[in-house]
Symmetry: C2
Subunit: 637 residues, 2 copies
C-alpha cells in the first residue's frame, strides 16, 4: 500500500533528445537479399550496375535492320531496293542488331514490290547511323550508380536494378522491436473476459504500428506482475532486439515494475514526460538496447508510439518522416488544458460554410474509440491554458483534405440510425461520408446557430404545443433558413434490468428509495422529455436518486443499467434490446434532421436524402426494434 516514487515531468523535446542520444548509437545491421524481394527496403551501400542495359545494340522499333549508308539517297520518289538476309534483316523492338548493321528502318517505311520474290524490299526513306537504335547503355551503363546508400527502394527501382544485373543487394536490416506485454489481469484475445480481466490489445496495436513504420516485431508471452519474471523477459529481449517495448506498468503504482526492473538492469534516462496522455513513460537503456516502458491506457500508449518511437524507427532506417497534412481549423468549443503538460487532442474535423471546424473527442486516456473516430491530432503546448471557442488549431490530419471536404457533419442528439446511415454512405458509390458527434438536441441547435454543422439530429418535445422540433426551430433559429426533414419515429421508454427485478412500471417508481436512476445530460431530447413528463406528473426531480448522474447517449444509459450501477434510465428501445435489457415504453417521439440552408440542395445532401428514403435503409433501422421509418425523408419545414 505504498507509492514508490514520483514521476518527473520532462518536456517532450528534452526527453526525446536524451533518449535519441542513447538510441542513435545503435547502428542497424546489414543483410543481403534477392533483389526481387527488396521493395520497401533500404540500401546499405551504393549500388553500381554490373551490366549495361541494353547490353547490346537493340532495335527501338519493329522494322528492318540495315547499314545506314545503304539507305542514303532513298526517298519516296527514289526507293532503295535491299535484299532480306543480305543487307536487310527483320528485327523486332528490343531485338539485337546484326553486327554489320547500324540503323533500323521502321516497318511502315518498307514495301515488298515483287510479289514473286518476298526477299526483295524497298525503302522510301534514308536513315541516319544509329537511328531507331537503342545503343548499349541507353538506360543503364555498367559501372553507373543505380542507387545511392540509404535509398528507399520503390517498385520501379527493382526494374532498374535487375536490368543492371543486380540480383542480390545489401540492405539495412529492419529494426527488430520486442514487445513485452505485462499484467496479471491480462488475457489473450479469444475468450470473453471475467470482471477484473482485461483482454490484451495494446501490443497488437503497437505491433501493427511498428510494422507500418518499417520495423520487424517479435512478441513475448504475457508477463505476470512479478519483478523476477519481468527481469527475465527483459534480459532475453535485449539479447536480440534493437528496441524493447514493455506494455503497461510504467507508472508508479504498487504493481508497476517497469521502472524498478530497468533501473536495476540498466540505466533509466527518463521517467515521466510532460505530455497528456502518455505521461508515465519510462525511457531506459539496458546493454546498449533502448527500452521504452509504455503506459497501460491505450491512447497514452499510442501517443508515446507516435511521438517517440515512430521518429526513431524512421531515423534508424535513414528515411525522412512521411509528410503529414497540416490543416488549420477553428475549435468549436473552449478547451481547457493543464499548464503542466503538452496535451494531444483527438479531433473530428468538418468543413461547414467554407470554415474548417474541429471538435475534440473524449479526452480520457482509456477511450480508444477517440483514436478510431479522430480525423487528426492537435497539440496544446505546455504552459497554455487551452484554446477558446473559435480559436485556430493546427491539426495533423489523418485523412486527406478531400475526405474532410466530403464529410457531412451532423451534431446533435445521438441516434443509432446515424451509425447505420454512416455505414450506408460508406457502402455507396459517392465520395460522401458522415461524421456525427453527440452533443444532445440543444447542442445541435446551438451548432446550427454558430454554423458549425451541416445537420443537427433533434428530438425535442415542446411542452406547450406537444409538437416535436418545429417550435424549437422557430424559437432559436428564426433568423436562419433551416429545413427540417423527418428521419424516424422511435419508441422512448425506461430501460431496466432483464425481468424488471425492481418492478418499475411508471415514472413515479423512480422516486422510490430502492430505485437508482441514471439520467441524460442537460439539453438532450430525452432529458427534455423526462423533465416535461415529471412536471406533468408533478414529480419533484430532486427526490429521484441518481437524477444528477448524466450519461451522454442511449447506449451508455443502458450500459449503466446492465452494469448494475443504476436500476432505470430513459432511452430508446433499440438501446435496451442491444444490451439485452428490458424496456417499459412511454412514448413515440419524432427524430428529425434540421438542415442548414447552405447545405440543403447540395450534391451530398441529395445522396443523404436518397439513402434515408431508401427501403434498404428503412429496413436496416427498423430491424433494431422500436423504430418506424415509413415517412423517413419527408420534408416537415
Amino acid at each position: 500500500m505504498e507509492r514508490k516514487i514520483y514521476l518527473n515531468n520532462l518536456p517532450l523535446e528534452r526527453a526525446r533528445e536524451i533518449f535519441w542520444n542513447a538510441a542513435q548509437k545503435r547502428k542497424m545491421r546489414v543483410e543481403e537479399l534477392d533483389t526481387r524481394l527488396a521493395a520497401g527496403r533500404v540500401t546499405a551501400e551504393p549500388v553500381f550496375a554490373r551490366i549495361s542495359s541494353p547490353h547490346y545494340h537493340a532495335s527501338a522499333m519493329d522494322g528492318v535492320a540495315v547499314k545506314a549508308s545503304d539507305t542514303f539517297g532513298a526517298a519516296p520518289t527514289a526507293p532503295r531496293r535491299l535484299m532480306l538476309s543480305e543487307n536487310a534483316f527483320p528485327v523486332d523492338t528490343g531485338g539485337a542488331l546484326p553486327p554489320q548493321c547500324d540503323a533500323v528502318v521502321m516497318i511502315e517505311n518498307v514495301t515488298f514490290p515483287d510479289k514473286d520474290n518476298p526477299h526483295i524490299l524497298e525503302i522510301r526513306e534514308a536513315v541516319a547511323p544509329w537511328q531507331h537504335v537503342r545503343s548499349i547503355g541507353e538506360d543503364v551503363v555498367a559501372g553507373e550508380m543505380i542507387l545511392p546508400s540509404y535509398h528507399f527502394i520503390r517498385p520501379f527501382d527493382l526494374g532498374a536494378l535487375i536490368s543492371g544485373g543486380i540480383f542480390q543487394l545489401k540492405l539495412l536490416k529492419k529494426p527488430l522491436v520486442s514487445l513485452i506485454p505485462t499484467g496479471s489481469e491480462i488475457i489473450p484475445p479469444g475468450r470473453m473476459p471475467q470482471a477484473g480481466e482485461i483482454i490484451e490489445s495494446n501490443t497488437y496495436t503497437s505491433a501493427a504500428a511498428i510494422e507500418q513504420w518499417g520495423g520487424d516485431v517479435t512478441r513475448q508471452a504475457v508477463v505476470q506482475d512479478e519483478i523476477a519474471l519481468l527481469e527475465k523477459a527483459v534480459r532475453r529481449a535485449v539479447r536480440y532486439s534493437d528496441l524493447v517495448l514493455i506494455s503497461a506498468g510504467s507508472s508508479a503504482g504498487r504493481r508497476d515494475h517497469t521502472f524498478q526492473v530497468l533501473d536495476h538492469l540498466g540505466e533509466v534516462l527518463v521517467h515521466g514526460v510532460a505530455i497528456r496522455p502518455g505521461k508515465p513513460v519510462v525511457l531506459a537503456v539496458v546493454d546498449g538496447v533502448p527500452i521504452v516502458g509504455l503506459p497501460g491506457y491505450p491512447v497514452a500508449a499510442y501517443t508515446v508510439l507516435e511521438l517517440l518511437i515512430r521518429p526513431l524507427l524512421y531515423a534508424w532506417q535513414k528515411q525522412p518522416l512521411p509528410m503529414q497534412e497540416i490543416l488549420q481549423a477553428k475549435s468549436s468549443r473552449r478547451i481547457l488544458s493543464s499548464l503542466k503538460e503538452e496535451e494531444y487532442l483527438r479531433l473530428k474535423v468538418g468543413k461547414v460554410n467554407e470554415n474548417f471546424i474541429a471538435t475534440p473527442l473524449a479526452r480520457g486516456a482509456g477511450v480508444s474509440m477517440s483514436l478510431v473516430r479522430a480525423d487528426g491530432l492537435a497539440a496544446i503546448p505546455q504552459d497554455h491554458e487551452g484554446v477558446e471557442a473559435g480559436e485556430s488549431l493546427s491539426i495533423n490530419l489523418w485523412r486527406t483534405p478531400a475526405e474532410i471536404e466530403n464529410t457531412i457533419v451532423c451534431l446533435g442528439s445521438h441516434d443509432l440510425s446515424l451509425d447505420i446511415l454512416y455505414d450506408f454512405l460508406k457502402r455507396g458509390d459517392s465520395p460522401y461520408t458522415l461524421s456525427s458527434a453527440h452533443v444532445g438536441s440543444m447542442g445541435g441547435i446551438m451548432a446550427l446557430q454558430r454554423e458549425e454543422t451541416h445537420i443537427a439530429g433533434l428530438h425535442l418535445l415542446d411542452p406547450e404545443s406537444g409538437y416535436y422540433n418545429t417550435p424549437y426551430l422557430e424559437r432559436y433559429l428564426a433568423h436562419k433558413e433551416i429545413h427540417l426533414v423527418h428521419l424516424a419515429r422511435r419508441e422512448l421508454g425506461m430501460i431496466v434490468a432483464p425481468g424488471n427485478p425492481r418492478n418499475i412500471t411508471s415514472l413515479a417508481d423512480l422516486t422510490r428509495e430502492d430505485v437508482i436512476f441514471v439520467n441524460r445530460q442537460k439539453g438532450a431530447g430525452t432529458r427534455v422529455f423526462l423533465d416535461y413528463s415529471l412536471a406533468a406528473e408533478k414529480i419533484e426531480p430532486k427526490i429521484i436518486a441518481g437524477y444528477n448522474r448524466e450519461e451522454f447517449n442511449h447506449l451508455a444509459v443502458a450500459a449503466a443499467v446492465k452494469g448494475g450501477s443504476a436500476d432505470a434510465g430513459l432511452g430508446i428501445r433499440a438501446a435496451a434490446s442491444t444490451l439485452g435489457m428490458d424496456f417499459i415504453p412511454l412514448a413515440w417521439e419524432e427524430y428529425d434532421l434540421a438542415i442548414a440552408a447552405p447545405f440543403y440542395d447540395t450534391p451530398p445532401y441529395h445522396v443523404l436524402l436518397e439513402v434515408i428514403s431508401s427501403p434498404a435503409f428503412r429496413a436496416a433501422v427498423e430491424r433494431m426494434g422500436g423504430y418506424d421509418l415509413k415517412d423517413s425523408g419527408e420534408k416537415k419545414a
Copy 2:
C-alpha cells in the same frame, strides 16, 4: 514480315471509363480473419462491439475504492477514518471496483495515521459517486458500431476491436492479380544475359507496385511467344484472378500476340490509348475478368500501371487514392510534345533562388533510370504542342516538398565523383541531398545565368590562356557573383578497346579510314578540349568518321567503344576502367564547381564543402583511378 493491325488512339479518360465499366462489375470476395492480422485490410461489413470496454466498473486511478457517501464531509481539517477490507479497498488503475463501491479516492489523498494498525486509513477529501471510476462502456459500449463497412484498418483500430470483443472479422479479400511475363527472349534474373536475351524485370516492378497498392500477386512462368501457350496461360489465370496482366506483346508487331489471344478468348475493349509512354496497351475482358496487355518498355508499362491499374485497385478496395503532393514548378527548358498523345514526363525538381525549377529526364520509354531519378511526374495534355522554357508545370511529387527544398541542384558536366558525392551526402547526418543532371559544362554555365542551378560542374579549357574554367566565368558570368571551388584533377584521354586493336596512339589516328570515332555533345568540356586539340594539331574534324555521333557522358562513350560501334572516343580514365577498356592519356584537366552567390555560405553549401574536403571522399574518388583530389575544396575564385 507483316504488321497485323493498327492501334487506336483513344483518350485516356475514355479508355479508363470503358475499362472501369467492365472491371467494376467484379466484386471483391470476403474472407474472415483473426483481428490481430487485420491491420491494413478493409472491413466487408459494419463491426459492432460484442462487449463493453471496460466491461466492469474500473478504477481510473491507483487508490482506494469506497462508497462515495462514506466520504461525504471529509476535508483536510476533518479527515474521515475508514477501515481496509471493510469500507475501503485498495485498487489499482484498471482494477474492478468491489460491488459495494461507487468511487475511488486517489492514493495521494490517503494517509495511514496509526503506525500500529495499518488497516486504518484517513481520507482528507470527499469524492462524488462515480468519481475516478471508468464506468462500463466508457470506451466502447456493447452493440455500438466500432467500424463501418469498407473501413481501412489502422493500428489503433485493432485495439478498439479487440477491446470490443471482436476476435475475428469479415474483410474484403485482397484483389488477386496474375502476372504473365511473355517473350522468347526473356530470361529470369540470376545469370548474365547473352546478346538478344533480356532479363525479365517488368513483372517484378509490377508485383511490387500491386502489393504496395493492396493487391495480392501470383506470377506465372515466362510464356514463350506462341499463341497457344499464351492462350493456355490466360485461360488458367482467369479461373482464379480478379485481374490479369500480360507483360509485353501488347503492340502490333509480328511477335505481339496479346491482342489476338484476348480477342479470341474474350472481348478486347481498347487497343491503343493516347498516352506516351504506354500507348500500345490492350484492355480486355475474358470470362468476366479484366485483362491488361502491358507494353514491354519498362517506363511504358509503369505508366500504364499508375494510370489505369492503381486507381482500379483502390476502387475495388473502396479506398480513396492516397493524396499526392502537387507542386508548381517552372520548366527549365522548352519541351516539345506530340499533339497526338498525352505525354507523361519524368522530371527532376529543385528549388533555386525561391523558384522551383523542373528539368525533364530522358523521355525514352526504355529508360527505366528516368523513373529512378525522377522527383515526380507531369502530364502534357493531348492537343498541346509542349511547354516553353519558364512555363509552369503541375508536378505530381514523389518526394516531400521538404526533400525538394533540401536538394542541392548541380547542372553541368558529368563527373563520376558527383555520384560519390551524392552517396556521401545520403550517408551523412544532414538532410541535404544532391541532384545532378548532365548538360555539359556550357549547359552548366547557361543554367547559372538563368539561375536554374546552385552549382555547375565545369572543365572548360580556354584555348587562348590555357587556363581552365576561370576565363569562361569572366566571359559569360561577369555580371553575376560566382564562386569557383576546385573538386578534382582528372586524366583525360582516348578510350579504346582492350589491347588497343586498332593501335591508336594519338589524335591524328582518328582520321584513319579504319577508325570510327564517337564524340561528345557540343558544349561538353571534353568536346571543347577535343576541338582545341584538333585545331592545335591542324586536324580537320570533318575527316574523322563518327565526329557527328554525340554521346552525353563519359560512360556512354566507353560503352560505345565496348559495344564495337566505335573504335575510340574521348573520356576520363575512370570511365574506361569501369568498363574494362584501354586508355591512352592525353592531359590532366581541372574539374571545378562554380557556385552561385545566393547558395554560397549557406548550411547545405557548408555540408557539401565538408564532404568534398574530407579524406574519406578523396580516397573514394581516387580509388576509381585517374583522379587527383589533393586540392579538393580549395577556393579558386
